[in-house]
Symmetry: C2
Subunit: 413 residues, 2 copies
């Protein structure tokens, strides 16, 4: 019998209690031990919940109880998650967390403490919810040199973009609907500005290269500027727009970004819709592989937490090598990454053809009926080159009344 404590009885924490209860027999068989929840740490009381008698308010009780071997952190945020997790590891306990903010900000240090203490710090649930993606990177694709990871890693933004794509909704309406359904928070900034995706792609990249990746080094752009008109063009072009977190690894060079990207129907992530997540991993031997499933939600995420608890239970007295070292991985500047660029320009192509060709070279042109604008899709070029071309074009056009570039979306087509 192994005793565990859960810190934070919110959505995921209560899901963990539920999974442990409902799948008790399977878990026991696979873990080799029964896993019993001894404490649930929360500021609140939950008198009507199945864990009512396990609720405690003082972390010290967990820290000092030697019987507790596995601590689950599902509080979110950095404070007090960070000091509690660190203290738990230092007390020789295994820690399982679903908290990507914690892993992205302090993973290097926490992994190092776990290594020194001979315990495990596991975080499958911090990326991709219930989809196994962290563990495949250290358990399944071990013979591979990972060359690319591209993920639709945020269910909220994917739901919003799917609504805009399939139902022609505006960003504002789609966001409101996501909020009404509980998919988006009242303050949706972390999701819609791409911050959540950024932390997740930083974690996946660090797993792939075995070095620390500072999420603040990753260029991050959200979806707030994407409009229903962009999707009208996308429909005409047979494409869609998805929020990607991507990193490409070539020798020791890592390029990474978070941005809305226009993709075609043949892209493996094209069919990842609604709140689902999908993660494409390219290995040098394997080629592309894709992992798809529920990227969020109470029970799927809790299931990933429980899988980590089972791994900890199977390795109670040993540290499973995984994660990354404190060596720092440089992230190449966004300017050097190559894309095609989808650009919407005011006015009519007929009047601007010469300037367009002059600044952007050979392009595909798209026009929608009834709009005083047109769109072009450039050949592949480095982001820096595109920015210079776009600035040059805008300057040249400044004198006109139908002036300027209205939108730019990177395209992988």
């Amino acid at each position: 019998m192994i005793k565990a404590a859960v810190m934070g009885y919110g959505t995921i924490g209560s899901g963990v209690a539920e999974v442990l209860e409902q799948n008790r027999d399977v878990i026991c068989r696979r873990a080799g031990h029964e896993i019993e929840l001894k404490y649930v740490l929360d500021l609140r009381e939950f008198p009507d919940s199945p864990v009512a008698d396990k609720i405690i308010h003082d972390f010290k009780i967990i820290e000092e109880d030697e019987e507790v071997r596995i601590v689950v952190e599902t509080m979110g945020g950095l404070n007090p998650a960070y000091p509690f997790v660190k203290a738990s590891l230092l007390a020789g306990k295994h820690v399982v967390t679903s908290n990507k903010a914690l892993v992205a900000a302090h993973g290097t240090e926490l992994l190092e403490i776990a290594r020194r203490q001979g315990v495990n710090f596991l975080f499958e649930a911090s990326v991709g919810g219930g989809i196994p993606i962290i563990r495949p990177l250290y358990r399944c694709l071990e013979g591979e040199r990972i060359e690319e990871i591209t993920g639709i890693l945020n269910g909220t933004t994917n739901y919003i973009l799917t609504k805009m794509d399939k139902e022609g909704e505006s960003f504002e309406n789609a966001l409101r609907e996501a909020q009404n359904l509980g998919y988006a928070e009242r303050n949706p900034e972390a999701d819609v500005e791409g911050y959540d995706t950024c932390r997740k792609i930083a974690i996946l990249t660090a797993m792939a290269v075995g070095k620390e990746v500072n999420f603040e080094d990753i260029y991050t752009e959200g979806i707030t500027k994407i409009t229903d008109i962009d999707f009208k063009y996308a429909e005409k072009m047979g494409t869609s727009i998805k929020l990607f977190g991507t990193s490409r690894i070539k020798k020791d060079k890592v390029s990474a970004y978070v941005a809305p990207v226009m993709i075609g129907k043949d892209h493996p992530l094209y069919a990842v819709n609604d709140v689902f997540n999908g993660i494409l991993v390219k290995g040098n031997m394997l080629g592309p592989a894709m992992f798809y499933g529920s990227g969020a939600g109470k029970l799927p995420t809790a299931s990933a937490v429980v899988a980590d608890m089972i791994e900890a239970a199977q390795n109670l007295d040993s540290h499973v090598p995984m994660g990354w070292s404190d060596e720092k991985q440089k992230v190449e500047p966004m300017e050097d990454i190559c894309f095609r660029f989808f650009v919407r320009i005011a006015g009519s192509y007929r009047n601007k053809e010469a300037d367009v060709k002059n600044f952007f070279g050979n392009v595909d042109v798209y026009e929608l009926y009834g709009l005083d604008e047109f769109a072009v899709l450039t050949r592949e070029m480095a982001e820096g080159d595109f920015r210079r071309a776009a600035a040059g074009f805008d300057t040249k056009e400044q004198a006109r009344s139908d002036f300027g570039i209205k939108q730019m979306i990177r395209a992988v087509l």
Copy 2:
């Protein structure tokens, strides 16, 4: 330094040598040891290959060399693969195989020997080529009660069906093309009759329930009867036809089958095309998750073999619990499984409406211009009930000149 031997220097065996060589540094880091190929067992010589000096023709050399800790079997077939693998395990060596025929036929016994000997018998590459699917079942989805596994598990048939779907080819032409490209063998029976898929779904089902599943108990139907006309209807209906290996697990009951199935655009496996494989796993907590990638091919499959070699290297002195016991899992009869049925019937619906409704109940009707036939899609019913209805309908119709049912394809819509 760990010494390994490869038995069978065909496509996959030579791929294993190549992956070990090309990714030497990554593999060494993750395995914690360098893995060196000491012997390559084959009847042939390969004087110009990089393993020329490692070729041996006598299995005894491997069996008796205590330095060899990991034996890789990539010969295929049962003889001599089975006696060689068994002898290797009995000699206390870890065995890694890509051979689904071997695992489906003798897995139970070989797993039991490995357990007794304290070594590992690993077979990630036997299902899904390079896609991690065996290991996720025992490493990642451990907290889950698996309720369904549905896979497109055979690249050859998926290539043929994709050609028929997208390019309107006949089965015969698509098969010939697959043969010309080396995707299908001269004798394509094992692929097109579904035997390969049957062994793979038997292995996955046994992994999920932890008991032996006899692949001969699984109803198996191939794709040889699928025609270009079926795909014309499918196009009109917005569906596609895929060869599924499926098992559903409810309490202790397992239903499993291999058959071509008509599915809609919203099915997670709809977009799995060409030689790619996709495997949908439904857990009681996770909901649906999907694994997608190269289901065959030299390097992807070899990469899965190497991942198993790394797992063996990490557990040189311990047996990793996985696989299934010798307890036998009953497979429910096909008659009890429920589907909708797509049925093509000679003649015109106008003349047969009464009989159709009488035998099949409420149906959707589809007609293609210029064909003296029509198709119906039934409501969901048990296969046994459908067969009785179809037999009754055919008997009733016998007197007519435009007699009978021309095609039946199960539908999951």
